[in-house]
C-alpha cells in the first residue's frame, strides 16, 4: 500500500514537472516583462541593466530553476492586470469554480446511478426507452448551447432564474465565499450547475447502464440467483459494486473535462470563477495569470487522478496495492 502510494506520488511529481516546464516555456516566450514594468520609453542601456537585474539574461536552466523554486513557494508571478500575485488572484476565483463543479457533481452522481441502474434492470420499459432517447440528445448538445438555451428559456422568457453572476454569497473563511447559504445563491448556482452537468449526466447514465447490463449477464449474478438471493440484493450488492469499478476510472478522467467545461459555463453565465478569469487573462495577454492557471489546473488534474486511482485500488479487492507498488 505504502509503496504504491509512493510510486503514484512520484508519477504525479513527474507530470507536474512537465507541466511546470510548459508553463515556464510559455512565460519565457509570451510577452515582454520589461514592457509591462517600464513601458517603451526607456533607453536600451537601462533595459539591459534591468534585464541583468531581473535575471532575464541567465541561462534557460537557471531561469527555470528560479521559476520552479518560486512556484514551490507559491509565487507564480504577478498579474499584469490585477497587479497582485497571480496565485492570490486564482485562489480568490477558485471557490466559485469549485462550488459549480460540486453542484454539477451532485447532480451527476445523484441522478446517473439510479437512472443507469433502472434502465439496466428494466431495459424495455417505456420509461427506459425515453431515458435512452433523451440521453443521446443530451450528449449531442454542447454545454455552451445548453447554457444558452436555459438562459433563453428560464431567464429571458420566463424570468424564473437570474442569468449571470453568483448573486448573494456568504463569506465562510479565507477566500471561500459560498453560494449555498442563501436562497438567492441557490437560485444563481442552479442553472450553471445543470448546464455543466448536462453533457456528463447522459454520458454516465449510458456508461452505468452498459456496465450494469454486462454485469447482470455474468456468471456470478446467475449463481447468486441460484442461491436464492433476493433481487434487490443482487442488484445493489452483487451487481452495483462491480458496475461502479470501471465507472470510477472513467469518472477520474472526466473530472478534467469538467474543469474545461467550467470555462464554457462560466463564460455563458458570467460566473466569476477561474475559467472566466482565464479567458479574460488570455484577451489581456496577462502571461503570469495564464501560466498560473495552467499550473493550478494541472495540479488539480494530477491530484484528483491520483486520488481516484487510490480509491479504485481501495474499493477493488482484486487490485493488490502492495504488489503494484513493487
Amino acid at each position: 500500500m505504502f509503496a504504491y502510494l509512493v510510486k503514484r506520488v512520484f508519477q504525479a511529481i513527474a507530470v507536474m514537472f512537465v507541466i511546470s516546464l510548459i508553463g515556464f516555456a510559455i512565460q519565457d516566450n509570451l510577452g515582454d516583462p520589461l514592457r509591462e514594468l517600464v513601458g517603451q520609453s526607456v533607453s536600451e542601456e537601462v533595459r539591459q541593466e534591468l534585464r541583468d537585474e531581473l535575471g532575464l539574461n541567465d541561462s534557460f536552466l537557471t531561469q527555470y530553476l528560479r521559476f520552479a523554486g518560486n512556484a514551490l513557494q507559491g509565487d507564480l508571478g504577478t498579474s499584469y492586470f490585477f497587479k497582485e500575485p497571480a496565485l492570490d488572484v486564482i485562489l480568490k476565483k477558485l471557490p466559485a469554480t469549485m462550488e459549480l463543479v460540486l453542484g454539477a457533481t451532485i447532480i451527476i452522481i445523484g441522478l446517473s446511478i439510479p437512472v443507469g441502474v433502472y434502465t439496466a434492470i428494466y431495459p424495455n420499459t417505456i420509461l427506459s426507452r425515453i431515458v435512452m432517447g433523451v440521453s443521446i440528445i443530451g450528449i449531442s448538445i454542447p454545454v455552451f448551447l445548453t447554457a444558452i438555451l436555459m438562459i433563453f428559456v428560464f431567464s429571458v422568457e420566463y424570468g424564473w432564474f437570474p442569468s449571470y453572476g453568483r448573486g448573494e454569497i456568504v463569506h465562510v473563511f479565507g477566500p471561500w465565499e459560498t453560494n449555498f447559504a442563501t436562497v438567492d445563491g441557490w437560485m444563481h448556482i442552479l442553472l450553471p450547475s445543470v448546464a455543466l452537468a448536462s453533457i456528463m449526466l447522459p454520458l454516465f447514465v449510458r456508461l452505468i447502464r452498459a456496465e450494469m447490463m454486462e454485469v447482470l449477464q455474468s456468471e456470478y449474478v446467475k449463481y447468486a440467483k441460484a442461491k436464492g438471493i433476493r433481487p434487490w440484493r443482487i442488484y445493489f450488492v452483487h451487481a452495483l459494486k462491480n458496475t461502479l469499478l470501471p465507472v470510477i476510472t472513467v469518472g477520474g478522467v472526466q473530472i478534467g473535462t469538467m474543469v474545461a467545461y467550467t470555462i464554457l459555463t462560466e463564460t455563458v453565465f458570467q460566473w466569476p470563477g477561474m475559467g472566466f478569469m482565464f479567458l479574460e487573462a488570455v484577451n489581456r495577454v496577462d502571461t503570469p495569470l495564464i501560466v498560473a492557471y495552467l499550473i493550478v489546473v494541472g495540479f488539480i488534474f494530477v491530484v484528483t487522478n491520483t486520488i481516484v486511482d487510490l480509491i479504485y485500488g481501495l474499493v477493488n479487492p482484486t487490485v493488490n496495492l502492495a504488489r503494484m507498488g513493487a
Partner: protein
Amino acid sequence: MSSLSTPTEPSRWSRVWNSNIGYSFRRNPVAIVSLMIFLLIAIMSIFAPLIAPFDPYDLGQIDIMNSEYPPLWVDGSDAQFILGTDDQGRDLWSTILYGTRLSLLIGICAVVLQAFLGISIGLIAGYVGGRTDSLLMRLADIQLSFSTLMVAIIFLAVTQAMFGSETFNQYAIYFLIAVIGVAEWPQYARTVRATVLAEKKKEYVDSARVLGFGPGRIMVRHILPNSLSPIFVISTVQVANAIISEASLSFLGLGMPPSQPSLGSLISSGFDYIFSGSWWITAIPGIVLVVLVLVINLLGDWLRDALNPKLYKG
C-alpha cells in the same frame, strides 16, 4: 499476389447490402433517417458555394444596414433573407451553409489525424511490445487523464496570445485540426494495440512472418483489417465529439473568427443578441449543430450495436 487479395468492385456493394450490416441497417429506421439527414447536410455543405444565395466571406455583399432581420416567418423580415441576417447583416442561411462546411471539415480532418496517429502508435506498441509498448501506453494514460478540451483551450489561448489575433485567425483552421487531432489519439492506440496483441498470437501472422513478409506489411495487410470495426465505431463517435470541441473552442473565441464563422463562432456572435430578442442568430445554427451531432451519434450507436466490436475499456 494481387489477384488473390481483392475481390472485384461491382460485387462489393451488393455484398455489403446483403451482409448482416446491411440487414440490420435496413431494419433500423432511426439509422436510415440519420444517414439520410447526415448525407443531406454533408452534400449541402460541400456544394455550399453553389447553393448559398450570398457569399458570407465577400465583404462587398454585406451591408450593416441589413443586420438582424428575422427569418421569413417572423414579422419584420426581408424576403431576400430566408433565415434572416446576423448582427453584421450577413444572410444567415448562406453563413450557416458555409459554417457547417467548416465544422464538418475540421471535425473529419481532426479525426483522420487522430486515427492516423493512434493507429500508428497502437500498431507499433502492440507489435514491438516490451519497453516501447509500456512507455507509449503510459503516455496514453497521461494524455487521457488530461481532457482534450482543456489541452486545446490552453494551447489555442497561448498560440493566440503569442501570434496575435490576426495571424491566429488566418491559420485558425489548421490549429484547430492539429490540436483536436493530436489530443485524442489514445482511444485509437489502445483499441488497435489490444487487437494487435490478440491477433499476434494467431497462426496467420506467424505464417506471414515465415513467408518472409516484413512487419510493416504484416501490420497493414493482416492485422489492420481485423481492427476495422472498432476503428469505425470509434471514428463515428469521435467525429461527433470533434465537431462539439470545435464549436466549443470557436464559441470561446479560440477557434474560427467571426469573419469566417463556423457554427460555434456563429452561435457565439449571436449570443450577445439573445437578450435583445434576436434569438435566431443563435438558435438556428444551434439547431443545425445539434442535429448534425445527433445524427452522427445515432449512426454511431447503430454501428456499435451492429458491429459489436470489442472496444478497449477503462
